[in-house]
């Protein structure tokens, strides 16, 4: 049974007389103790989802279930959830101690008990030496810990996080990410974390949900989604650089890409048929430049990123990206041959924009 469940959620915003449908029948099932990251581009309603779960916003249609119970009419204060907002919202007029103690004070917990619990979370997050300070004396990383401490102190088992690491500088962010992961492993709360940062999403999530166009496009194990994107949008969004998508046609026992033939991988042989239009997806890291490659093209641009370079290669009308370890220097205009790791190919149906493999599975299930 799901612990947090969003069922067919619709939400519309009106900005300056213009109505925009942000959520369009969104469904999401979250099991107890999972670390779910909702990943999506900015302005797609990620924060709206959290606010609807917390009860700060009311959905236009659909239902929210918390711990298996309908929560639509439960006010935020009775939903037993905690939240870490993007700007941390540490009250500037209270000391760190009072900030962390605030949820307990509101609940009229006895003073000794408050002290015990605040000390407990503060020690766990290593901010017990900062308790007397005012928020203005804290660094970004310390503020983030105070915000997490305040979310943990009341013992809510559902914690909502709205890009809590986005205000930290790169080095602190990596540390904070690791700590957050540890914390979740130790305390086992259900965390719903929204972000637009792919690295954060892939490294933190026990389950990844990709939000686009008002619905969850893909939901599941992060690496599964990465390897086998279920539609063209997810393929073009996830990964940096994202998956290469090339239009092609199915031939007898090959796929025709710009007059170049690549063999059909075994797993697709029964699914696709000759003459069918197809979109081939291949990750830049599954391509390699070598002399006996199948594809031929010219180098358009080279991005050197330190450990590896992204080589933009023009093949006919298509521009594809190849990741290559920064050993050989490539020049613009250079003719190259590119080899493909055939087993890593993903095929999409151009008319439905879906992964053909998943479409086939759906067909079987429907029968």
């Amino acid at each position: 049974m799901s612990y947090v469940k969003l069922e067919n959620i619709w939400k519309e915003y009106e900005v300056k007389g213009k109505k925009t449908q942000v959520l369009k029948g969104l469904n999401l099932d979250i099991e107890k103790g999972e670390f779910v990251v909702v990943l999506g581009p900015s302005g797609e309603g990620k924060t709206t989802i959290l606010k609807i779960i917390a009860g700060l916003l009311r959905q236009d249609k659909g239902h929210v279930y918390l711990r298996g119970e309908l929560a639509d009419d439960v006010p935020p204060k009775d939903r037993r959830v905690a939240m870490v907002p993007q700007n941390y919202a540490i009250y500037p007029f209270m000391s760190v101690y009072d900030n962390i103690a605030f949820p307990l004070k509101v609940a009229h917990v006895p003073k000794e008990e408050i002290k015990k619990r605040v000390m407990e979370v503060a020690t766990m997050l290593r901010i017990d030496n900062l308790l007397d300070r005012k928020p203005s004396q804290l660094s970004g990383g310390q503020m983030q810990r105070v915000a997490i401490a305040r979310a943990l102190v009341k013992g809510a088992d559902i914690i909502l996080m709205d890009e809590p690491l986005s205000n930290l500088d790169a080095q602190v962010r990596v540390l904070a990410r690791e700590e957050l992961k540890q914390l979740q492993r130790n305390l086992k709360p259900t965390i719903i974390y929204v972000t637009h940062d792919q690295v954060e999403a892939l490294s933190l999530a026990s389950k990844l949900a990709i939000l686009h166009d008002g619905i969850i496009q893909a939901y599941g194990d992060p690496m599964d989604i990465y390897r086998e994107p279920n539609n063209i949008w997810v393929a073009s969004f996830l990964g940096n650089p994202p998956m290469n998508l090339i239009k092609g046609e199915v031939g007898k026992d090959y796929i025709l890409l710009e007059n170049m033939r690549i063999p059909i991988p075994e797993k697709f042989k029964k699914i696709i048929s000759e003459g069918q239009k197809i979109i081939v997806g291949i990750r830049p890291e599954d391509l390699m430049i070598n002399d006996n490659g199948i594809l031929e093209g010219t180098v358009e641009m080279v991005e050197d990123l330190g450990p590896y370079s992204i080589i933009h290669v023009k093949i006919g009308q298509n521009l594809i990206r190849v990741i290559e370890k920064s050993v050989a220097r490539r020049e613009r205009g250079e003719k190259v041959k590119i080899g493909i790791d055939i087993a890593k190919l993903t095929l999409f149906n151009p008319s439905t924009e879906k992964n053909v493999l998943l479409e086939a599975v759906e067909r079987v299930i429907r029968k």
């Binding site: 939240m83 907002p85 007029f93």
Partner: protein, 292 residues
Amino acid sequence: MAIRRYKILKILRLLFSYIILIIMSFFAIFPLYYVFMTSFSNAPNLISLSISDLIPKHIYFTAYKYLISTNLYGGSFPLWVRNSLILASSTAIISVLLALITGYALSRLDIPAKKTLATFIYIVTFFPYTATAVPLYLLFAKFHLLNYIGLILAYTPGTSIFAAFIAKLSIDAIPSSYEEIAMIDGLSRFGAFLRIVMRLALPVVALTAILGFTGAYLDFALAYSFLLPNVKEWTATIGLYYMAGLLNPASAPQYNIFAAGAVLMGIPLMALFIVSQRMMTKAYSNLAGVKQ
């Protein structure tokens, strides 16, 4: 050479600024000093004023004694000051609540015609407040409200309509996540408003309180038209008006008593200003968009 010229220019610039500042402050301080000195004289008139009179030779407390001890038609000055303080404090408190609640609603809540309402409020603040004295009198007479409650009801909107607009601007600048977190952590929306928003908008709260307090404390026109028949309910401004004999054109007004009354009435105001000075500077700099 260039450095020396720069130094001379700097001195000249400072000299010029200070001369202007000194002249300005003279004009600002002189009337106050004059009132202060007059309150310690025993001559009730203003005619015999020469430069030498500006430094008093004798200090008399007659005017103060008269104000504190005299009983006029069954009322006395201390009683009226007390009335004024009660009236002004109540106006201040109600103005703060009304202004902040209105400002919050205009800033945060999804209410119909919000923009029109905010503009309307802004326009209303342009109207001179005294112009409404007669219609207010007629209206409140109909409702039998020519008393303190009526006066507070009449004063409050005058202050809070202006303050509501400032409160809206101030609350706009507070990220809504502060209240949202408070609401998730166990407060109702109103609780979050009282404990978080009011506290974060404290400079505006102080500004509104002072505006409300001084408005009611120093008002004469409305208090006069509302409270005249009952001497015991008079405010300090009405009382002083009669005590100093400004009403009767036949007798010369006793200006030293008027001045002493002004000094006494100024004490609570001064205390209020000193207490809230820090908040006030914050309030003004917040409005100017300067971060403290």
